[in-house]
Symmetry: C2
Subunit: 297 residues, 2 copies
Amino acid sequence: MFDYKLLAALAAVVEQGGFERAALRLGLSQSAVSQRIKLLEARVGQPVLVRASPPAPTDIGRRLLNHVQQVRLLEHDLQAQVPALDDGLPPERLRIALNADSLATWWAEATAPFCAEQRVLLDLVVEDQDVGLRRMRAGEVAGCLCGAERPVAGARSQLLGAMRYRGVASPAFVARHFADGVTAAALARAPGIVFGNDDLLQHRYLATLGFEEDFRHHLCPSSDGFVRLTLAGVGWGMVPELQAGQALAEGRLVDLMPGRGVDVPLYWHHWRNGGELLASLTDHLRRRAPDWLAVAD
Amino acid sequence: MFDYKLLAALAAVVEQGGFERAALRLGLSQSAVSQRIKLLEARVGQPVLVRASPPAPTDIGRRLLNHVQQVRLLEHDLQAQVPALDDGLPPERLRIALNADSLATWWAEATAPFCAEQRVLLDLVVEDQDVGLRRMRAGEVAGCLCGAERPVAGARSQLLGAMRYRGVASPAFVARHFADGVTAAALARAPGIVFGNDDLLQHRYLATLGFEEDFRHHLCPSSDGFVRLTLAGVGWGMVPELQAGQALAEGRLVDLMPGRGVDVPLYWHHWRNGGELLASLTDHLRRRAPDWLAVAD
């Protein structure tokens, strides 16, 4: 069998983002961690880490991490049956990549019962879909919640539902910029808010009005910050109904084009052989997500 | 004088995270952007970019970007006086690095009047303090809001106030884990929530109780996700008063140790020769921040 002491050292260096923290995590000296990585590299006959800051796995390193991730999940199952196997280290966390808007809205409430029942700790990583799936492929996360359907090799994906986005702005912003109605031209002239360069929601909203050009916009890569900027009248933007609902009901936000929104499907990606814990989370999400998500087309 | 076409190409590649997007931003072909970078490298006699994904500036590249950032701010001033200078490109955004909790709480309301008056677009970058200041040094941002006082060379820092954090949990969580009172031992046993490996707020809170060891915790690198996890009863954690206030008042969160909190000072870093726009934002922040922030010790 593999020497898991060595693989655990590799996982710790990548997950903790450095040798010093990995050493702390494992209760070893930094040179012992270094030694284990070197030994692992001698065994596989090539580098497993790129020594950058933070250290990144090489291709072969990624394949090893992917394996470690799955072994850990299987170990978690076994420990539930044979508690004496406990290695005395703090419990492993279930590492999940997910989109910022899910974490800012329904994720906590949906998964709270699961965390309490299973006594599991989560390590949540906020990533857009490409990076989330890349982390999945690299074995850095056990699951990934994102808008892309296609699973990576060895994984399955499952449609949970859709997040429904509305174009919103504050009443003062509407009065200032849309006195003559909400048209594509007026929307494109008024400052918008965009989450980041990959966020095309606002573009898609404008495209439904036949407007395909670029428009003036702020950039705000924070889900909550995004809503606050709309509330404060800094710009208009697409906000999940789940997040805008109360402010819309109270009149602190205005739906710019009632009835017209953009739906984003959400897929849950998980390892096919990820063990009981992951299977149980998958089952839990499948049952609970419809309480918050819309039915996807 | 420098050839700013070349420097603008460098800035676009780094800011947009790639040659293709830089070309879109500049309205050039990708090979034209490439050509400009090569020409710039021929002029300075060494590489300005590490061709990775995304491309990163070399040391000399960073120094050039730092310069571009400051020139742009000065240009913005001049354009206000001589509008004919407008180059026809979309307006530059003011790029600001700030901590996630500020963006999730007071930032939008505090800066909304400034954005409206100055008709400026913001490009907000969420970073913890080390990375934020590193971006400042690299000339990738015009300002940085963080907990560190010491400015980078060429910049000034200004204390705006402090964010006050409280240790909070949901009433159900308190009943489950703190039936016998909130002691350091009980806090360390109950699952906590930590923003990331650099977030020592919870550790400092426990340290005020004389508890210095590690404790079980979830990891959640999202300000809003963090609050939602506490509301859903997944764990206890340190939340800004600004963010927890309403939930505390409504009894949806409980202050674990009333009167005992952790204050985090917030410093505003800005270029010394950053021009009128940045000076005006600095002035605006200095006047408005006290409406939200506590007086720092």
